[in-house]
């Protein structure tokens, strides 16, 4: 029974407009629960730092990050243009206005190049298998994955993303509930296609 799941989600916490409870989260069907997980992981707050290439994305429309920002050798940006150059320890005050670089108490980052954890454009089954594969998920076991989605400040940021950004469209509690429902059932993956 593999309980090795992952999620190097970089961004997903508390709310602005009240997130809509996902109907799947109420179901005990683990495949339906995974659909809720997928909705979260592929929302802009998560996908923007889990891109298909090495350039992160920005905004609710997922445009390429300005300044040609790159993942870098450790996922913390290029040498000399680290994520921390602009992303501080908290979102800037609302009085600063729109389009300010958001921040988080730990550190802004992407998954490192050794395990990129691409969420952008990945089909459900492939996303599911990637999450469970310790060779791809940074060696996270089931407990580490649950901790990541439940408590990592960078993940939680997705629910309080600062002025002008939509939070993850599923309530965090519903996301974690769906995650547990899926993993407690053995983390089955949906069929191909």
């Amino acid at each position: 029974m593999r309980r090795l799941l992952l999620l190097a989600l970089v961004a997903c916490t508390h709310a602005e407009p009240a997130p809509t409870p996902a109907p799947e989260a109420k179901s005990a069907d683990p495949i339906a629960s995974f659909a809720t997980v997928k909705t979260v992981l592929q929302s802009p707050r998560c996908v923007n730092c889990h891109p298909a290439g090495d350039q992160p994305l920005q905004g609710d429309d997922g445009h390429a990050h300005q300044q040609f920002v790159q993942r870098g050798p450790e996922g913390r940006g290029a040498i000399g243009l680290a994520c921390a150059t602009c992303h501080g320890k908290a979102n800037p005050p609302a009085s600063y206005g729109l389009h300010m670089p958001p921040g988080v108490s730990t550190e802004w980052r992407l998954p490192p190049p050794e395990h990129r954890m691409v969420f952008a454009g990945v089909a459900a089954r492939a996303l599911c298998e990637q999450l469970k594969d310790v060779r791809q998920n940074g060696g996270k076991d089931s407990a580490a994955l649950l901790h990541h989605v439940s408590e990592d400040p960078l993940v939680l940021w997705g629910w309080s993303p600062g002025t002008g950004r939509k939070p993850v469209p599923v309530a965090h509690a519903d996301f974690v509930k769906a995650w547990k429902s899926w993993t407690d059932a053995g983390a089955p993956c949906p069929p191909q296609g």
Binding site: F68, A78, I79, G80, L81, A84, G97, P101
Partner: protein, 153 residues
Amino acid sequence: MKLNVNGTVHEVDAPEDMPLLWVLRDVLGMTGTKFGCGMAQCGACTVHLDGQATRSCVLPVSSVGSRMVTTIEGLSPDGTHPVQKAWAEVDVVQCGYCQPGQIMSAAALLAHHPNPTDAEIDLALAGNICRCGAYQRIREAVRAAATQRRADR
């Protein structure tokens, strides 16, 4: 609050959410660091926080804490930091407005990576915009500074 800038601890009376850049320029009178866009898009406001290039225009001063701020005024006591010397030798500057930010980014890059390739220089300085388009000379000066730093060691 206390603020360590260029090795001197200042007692600063400023609102907690005031950007560090405003404190540097308007409270402490250090006008070498420039205001460009006010949203971390152009790099003109770049300073070092514990040696890390940082955009001071979007950083609330209260978040600096005990970290050491270095501005262009404090990069060297007499303008002889290898990057500053290279900038003069290559005659990089046209209008000059973005140059403090460019120099601070270049200095931070070389402190972490003494021998960058041209591609690495371009990536590191991609967040520093030069309206005059002096990018070729900027890259040349960074290369020259890297060479000088290695020779000095």
